[in-house]
Symmetry: C2
Subunit: 280 residues, 2 copies
DNA sequence: GTTCCGCATGAATCGATAG
DNA sequence: ACTATCGATTCATGCGGAA
């Protein structure tokens, strides 16, 4: 059997393709799997009550192919059918039983979520990004995702007018002076576990409108350049695009030919664009 | 035994006082219970592995006292001990088994979370507000929590704190002041299921990790004036203050005398303030 | 009176140290 | 080996005093 190539997408079921991935060869698994379907008869969808049985064998493969200091990030959100479905929180418990550490739950706050109004609830504008690891210690490059410091200090530091600036400099030996100077040189702070990215509405109707910024953030956080990122449900190729942009290698898998074709098209366009940029 | 009075706080264990509350007499249970303690020996705290056994008998009483169209809102967040604790999601499953509907999970996005930096995670800046109901249909007054359109104004008005309020009112002649005032009552849209409030620390002694805006939002959403709100873990009395402000009646319970005294003081101060305001 | 700044302080978490 | 305690890390906010 042909070994898997990097920066390529494979057409087929993840559970069939994953066995071809080498042991402990992947640095990050970043994926947004198909969410459970409410209607059991929906073609290709996984019913809520079969979701865990469907997912766990795949997670077993994840555990095999992930390197010891790697991470597995699962973007998912249960739907509501009168009440919230429980398959996601049950999946967390099951993954722990399989040996994963449930290290963190990040919130993706979708600032422009779908409009709509229902009698029981408001618009759902957040999704879970569940972070699992194999070990207590893992690779995390926190500096790569630092963000500009909050408004409060910006306002205060911007207001350092002539008088204050003079004072700050002249009083360099005082604690006050030194402290302010330290803040000025340091415009980046560490983020928290709530992510804010606007979802994008692509032309194709992949149910999960998964903006490139989301995988990109986790890719920067948990891998370095040249590392391997696996997305077994790559959809329209967003994780691949994020890898191309950040100089990581990816392995993609997609079961539906429609998305497989779309992902390949998107990837090729991006690769062409990068080549053109280099020529200039 | 003396019947429970409204707008009063009872000193003692919720499981002992709850039996005195009449069947189906409460319109909303809004509470932030003590979170599980990491250290097992910590005095008064509930260890993680005993949390569900401690909570479920209390939840049974909640079910008895809540009226059929009422709501139960639980503000809670699991801590981390290398990995995230699972007692909260297990509690959700257990409450469902007890007959509750897990109607929704709101996110409280704390804009000012605890600082700190660790090798394996960022600062935790969100908490769960789990919404349970007894029935598919329940009281929800969505219009009462509508917000001005657009993110900037939403953030701004939600965060109208002392300083901004003062400025908004006092600067009525300035453009900014008038502009902000004009937004109120105009172009109102429904919010989503992510709430943004900054935690405030009012007193030197007690950490008000639970800002008044949080219970106030749910009180407005799930009750009308004159309704009964129960908080069996009322702490420093925040839920009671929110009720006084919004003309709801509350029943409070608190096991620790220190908080019981503080809550009574806060409630009395607020009642006195309301009386003074009326005289003017 | 209004704006501005220093300071204290939080539902935190980890790793090391001590018992 | 297992548990309790402690120091280090970090940043948005309200408050009070100063400009």
């Amino acid at each position: 059997m042909e070994p898997l190539r990097f920066n390529n997408i494979y057409l087929g079921d993840a559970k069939d393709i994953l066995p071809r991935v080498e042991d402990e060869s992947v640095d990050l698994i970043m994926t947004s799997p198909p969410y459970a379907e409410k209607r059991k008869k929906s073609y290709g969808g996984i019913p809520e009550n079969e979701y865990i049985d469907w997912f766990m064998p795949i997670a077993r493969e994840f555990k095999r192919v992930l390197q010891p200091k790697g991470s597995f990030v699962l973007n998912i959100k249960e739907g509501a059918n009168v009440q919230r479905e429980t398959y996601v929180i049950e999946l967390i418990l099951e993954l722990k039983r399989q040996g994963w550490l449930w290290t963190e739950e990040y919130i993706w706050y979708k600032t422009a979520s779908m409009p709509g109004k229902w009698p029981n609830r408001f618009r759902d504008s957040w999704e879970r990004c569940l972070h699992f690891t194999k070990n207590k210690k893992f690779n995390m490059y926190q500096d790569s995702v630092r963000v500009p410091i909050g408004d409060w200090s910006k306002t205060r530091l911007n207001n350092l007018k002539s008088y204050d600036k003079k004072r700050t400099i002249s009083a360099s030996k005082s604690g006050l002076g030194r402290k302010v100077m330290n803040w000025k040189g340091r415009d980046l702070v560490y983020p928290d576990n709530v992510l804010k990215f606007a979802p994008v509405c692509k032309n194709m109707r992949h149910s999960a409108a998964y903006p490139k910024e989301l995988p990109l953030w986790f890719i920067k956080l948990f891998t370095k350049k040249g590392d391997i990122v696996l997305d077994p449900f790559i959809g329209s190729g967003t994780t691949g695009l994020a890898c191309l942009e950040s100089n990581r290698n990816f392995i993609g898998m997609e079961i539906k030919r429609k998305y497989f074709n779309l992902a390949n098209k998107n990837i090729q366009l991006e690769q062409q664009r990068l080549i053109n940029d280099e020529k200039k």
